[in-house]
């Protein structure tokens, strides 16, 4: 009796399920064209020109969701059924988090191996760098004398008291910078540096990198920390021409040229473990490291191309060449949790 009832329920369930499946399959078959699905931490206004060029060249449609927070959790929750084929991030930290959560898969491509220097990609091809940017010092042209500042360490010295501006110590760019100092000099030295830098701040950390240069221009402080591309964005800003004035008030200083080199970070891409369109995903990464795309990155966003031989934007070139810190970025990324804790310990933002 009971068994019969269960059988009946099962049959009803089966019919219902089949009906649902047919509906869904008929819906999804409409999307069978060549495509690739992207979760991106980089803004659409930045990626659109690149993705459009990719579609024009290959005929592959790119679908994108822009997610800054929660990308990792979304991939995890969607699991093997996730529609995402690849992710784009604006920092090594996030690539590393996805790697540690086992959400990425290896891919081999001789094109990528040729285009990307080995220290800017995962040894097994689980992530690839696309562009690099340096975290540099902006110094007021008059109020900062030549030689007064030449390293990150100088920012924490007594003669800079009340003269330094920076964004929040918890922002991923500053966390990565501190992580690179931990990787280079150890936890204690890094904490002492963070403490010294905090003591030298002209104001509570606030705003983005661009806002710091504005503060230097206005005389609130003499030096600030920022990513290179902000300089280019300000120097060419026709919409807000006052930003050109801010930029012209400061010199670009690449820190630590006499020792480990300037801290650089990457924006990167990785193929997800769940990728259904893996070959298209690899094609997109290959495209993003091609001469064509690297030129767009360089020209539109003033980033340093990862591929050797691609011309820099003339402005970027005018800042001069520099020696980059060559510590493998994954090793820097591993220190990010500790770096965040140090920022807490020295109460950097308060």
């Amino acid at each position: 009796m009971v068994k019969k009832k269960i059988m009946k329920t099962r049959e009803v369930l089966k019919v219902a399920a089949l009906a649902i499946v047919t509906v869904i399959l008929s819906l999804t078959s409409a999307f069978a064209a060549e495509e690739v699905n992207l979760y991106s931490e980089r803004q659409p206004f930045l990626m659109d020109p690149l993705l459009k060029a990719f579609t024009e060249e290959t005929g592959i449609k790119v679908n994108m969701v822009y997610i800054q927070k929660g990308m990792l959790e979304r991939l995890k929750a969607e699991g093997a059924n996730s529609p995402a084929d690849l992710i784009l991030t604006s920092d090594i930290g996030n690539l590393n988090n996805h790697l540690e959560a086992d959400l990425l898969q290896a891919s081999q491509s001789s094109i990528l191996e040729n285009n990307i220097p080995s220290h800017y990609r995962h040894p097994e091809g689980k992530w690839y760098g696309l562009t690099t940017r340096a975290r540099i010092i902006f110094a007021h042209k008059e109020r900062v004398k030549p030689g007064e500042i030449s390293s990150y360490e100088d920012l924490a010295k007594a003669h800079m008291k009340g003269r330094v501006c920076t964004r929040s110590g918890k922002h991923m760019y500053n966390v990565s910078l501190l992580a690179s100092i931990i990787a280079a000099k150890g936890e204690d030295a890094a904490e002492a540096w963070a403490k010294g830098l905090k003591a030298n701040l002209a104001r509570k950390p606030q705003g983005n990198d661009r806002a710091q240069v504005k503060a230097v221009f206005q005389g609130e402080c003499d030096v600030s920390i920022g990513n290179t591309y902000y300089m280019g964005k300000m120097q060419t800003n026709d919409k807000s021409p006052e930003q050109k004035e801010w930029a012209s008030a400061v010199n670009v200083i690449f820190p630590n040229q006499s020792d480990r080199g300037t801290h650089t970070n990457i924006s990167g891409a990785a193929v997800t473990k769940s990728a259904k369109n893996k070959s298209n995903a690899v094609k997109l990464i290959e495209f993003l490291t091609s001469n064509n795309a690297q030129k767009i990155y360089a020209e539109d966003n003033f980033e340093y191309p990862i591929k050797k031989g691609v011309a820099l934007h003339p402005l970027v070139e005018s800042w001069g060449t520099f020696k980059a810190d060559t510590t493998f970025l994954s090793n820097v990324a591993k220190q990010r949790i500790l770096a965040t804790r140090i920022m807490d310990r020295v109460r950097f933002d308060n």
Binding site: L18, V21, I24, E73, R74, E78, K204, K239, R336, R347
Partner: protein
């Protein structure tokens, strides 16, 4: 909350037919509550998964700072919105002064302004390099920052000011609805017993409006507690900022969920203690006589003061920031006005309208379900279901991701093992997921205002209707809904405007290639380039105020006795 014993008696006294209705209603309420609880349960579940222990580190470093900053923010925003919200609501509901008619709806306008947008705009104006300080330096010949003092906008005080300016309309809206639903007779009784207008306000009207005011304040506090955009931009170390820090910088989602759970318990404690404090009080109206509101005439300086008191919040919360935004939009018109823009606006509008209708329908269903069967289990469940408002948006989004992901993958697994067919993800990454997220987040708004309003309908009404042979549905339709119309409109308006501004849930849950006005603004605002997105930001405000004005007029009309007022004036 108020009709406990009586409605059960009603239920018990009714016929068999309506009893089966009752069961369906209770069952429905339980099912809906359980679905709404899923994402919150998921957050609590995540908090129990293993991860690095964050507590020792936080306690020895920044936890006290997080707590004191958060309490400071809550106290500041709470007092600020209470004073502005209740004060202006009383003025426009009970007094007559120049501009009153306009202020009735104009006072709601700041509601449409997202807090992070206003924060950004005021920073531009008030920071050291902004035009105001520049002007002061020119006027007085100051050269550096050290020569004078000026309040720092990027501070706790600044965050309190920004949030107060855009959040006070919640308190205004709910307390005005409460003042208008109050029977004037009680006020007249108070006056005729020799109390002046002030003592009548503090002694009668205010205590009677307490449930509504409390709901307004608690909505405001939850918004303030969960805010990320403003405190992140100002680098004010609140508890919520700490949650994001642990989650994203320490890559510790379990730790973040633990912090979010603590926040949730804190909110629960506040809500329960307030309920406990007025556990013996009842707020039914005992009379059905409504007359036109008295409209104390304020003349001379009193009238001017009233006008000024109502004008200031509107000017600083809406007029000034909108003017700055409009100015930016002109400068950046080419970037802002792209052809896809209209599509984003349509997406925002449709999604917000859908969520508002659903949220209010579910809110009424649940509130009435509780009224019909006042059982502890039901009350607790419904209370839990409206806790989504107490969780920071992105954290709630993760809860939605995890619960929908499990359902989708569960169905997929079942279908694979039984039929060898993969169904993939049915809900995750769809509009349905976004709508579900909105509902879970904003159910508190609709449920709260409907419940408060229903509480004021005396149970003897239910009794009368039911004894005349009407079932629960018919009683709801013919008695309650017309009586709480104003609150229903209020609730739908609040949910709609909040959905228009909503960001984290939309960003995290949305399908591919899907944009709303808010997400479009976000991509620029996240890089502090609001200029490029100013037209979209202005559109959020514009689309937001449209229903605000329309509904506000409807609310004024919805008051029993309003027609008489029209005739009088």
């Amino acid at each position: 909350m108020t009709s406990a014993s009586s409605s059960i008696k009603i239920a018990d006294g009714t016929t068999k037919v309506s009893l089966s209705w009752l069961n369906g209603w209770t069952l429905g309420t339980i099912v809906i509550a359980m679905i709404a609880i899923l994402p919150i349960a998921a957050v609590i579940f995540i908090s129990l998964t293993p991860g690095d222990d964050i507590w020792e580190h936080l306690m020895s470093t920044v936890l006290t700072l997080y707590i004191s900053t958060t309490l400071g923010l809550m106290i500041g925003v709470g007092i600020g919105t209470l004073l502005i919200g209740v004060g202006t609501a009383w003025l426009v509901s009970m007094c007559r002064f120049p501009g009153k008619r306009m202020f009735e709806w104009a006072l709601l306008l700041p509601m449409a302004m997202p807090a992070y947008v206003i924060a950004y705009l005021y920073t531009d104006i008030l920071e050291y390099s902004g035009p105001l300080q520049e002007l002061l330096r020119d006027l007085f010949g100051w050269k550096t920052k050290r020569e004078y003092w000026f309040p720092e906008i990027r501070s706790l005080g600044g965050a309190i000011a920004m949030m107060t300016l855009v959040l006070y309309p919640y308190v205004y809206l709910l307390s005005r609805a409460a003042f208008m639903e109050q029977s004037v007779c009680v006020l007249e009784a108070s006056r005729s017993l020799g109390r002046g207008p002030y003592r009548s306000f503090f002694g009668v009207a205010l205590p009677l409006a307490r449930p509504a005011i409390i709901i307004g304040i608690s909505l405001v506090l939850m918004e303030a507690l969960n805010d990320f955009g403003t405190v992140d931009f100002f680098a004010v170390s609140t508890f919520t900022l700490g949650i994001y820090d642990v989650w994203l910088n320490m890559n510790n989602v379990a730790g973040a969920a633990q912090l979010a759970t603590v926040l949730l318990l804190f909110v629960l404690f506040l809500v329960l203690s307030e309920r406990f404090a007025r556990r013996k009080q009842r707020f039914h109206h005992t009379t059905t006589k409504y007359k036109a509101l008295p409209g104390y005439l304020l003349e001379g300086w009193r009238g001017r003061f009233a006008t000024l008191a109502c004008a200031l919040p509107v000017v600083f919360g809406f007029v000034l920031p909108s003017a700055v935004l409009a100015n930016y939009s002109l400068v950046h018109f080419e970037v802002a006005m792209n052809p896809e823009f209209i599509g984003y606006a349509v997406n925002s509008f449709m999604l917000s309208a859908l969520a508002a209708i659903l949220a209010v329908a579910i809110g009424i269903f649940m509130a009435y379900g509780v009224r019909l069967r006042n059982e502890r289990l039901l009350k607790v469940m419904v209370r839990m279901a409206s806790l989504g408002y107490a969780v920071p948006g992105s954290v709630l989004a993760v809860g939605v991701l995890v619960s929908l992901g499990s359902i989708d993958n569960g169905i997929d697994g079942f279908m694979r093992s039984n039929f060898g067919i993969s169904t993939g993800l049915l809900f995750s990454g769809t509009i349905a997921a976004v709508t579900f997220g909105y509902l879970v987040r904003f159910l508190a708004l609709s449920f709260g205002s409907v419940e408060a309003s229903l509480g004021k309908v005396t149970p003897s009404m239910d009794g009368a209707a039911r004894s005349l042979g009407h079932g629960p549905l018919s009683t709801l339709r013919r008695i309650h809904l017309p009586m709480i119309q104003g609150s229903i409109l209020t609730a739908s308006m609040m949910v709609f405007v909040d959905c228009m501004k909503e960001l984290p849930l939309t960003v995290i849950l949305r399908p591919f290639n899907f944009h709303t006005l808010a997400t479009f603004v976000h991509q620029y605002a996240s890089d502090e380039q609001l200029g490029e997105a100013s037209l979209a930001a202005l559109s959020i405000v514009g689309f937001g105020i449209l229903p605000v004005i329309v509904l506000s007029l409807a609310i004024t009309r919805s008051r029993p006795g309003h027609a008489e007022e029209e005739e009088v004036s």
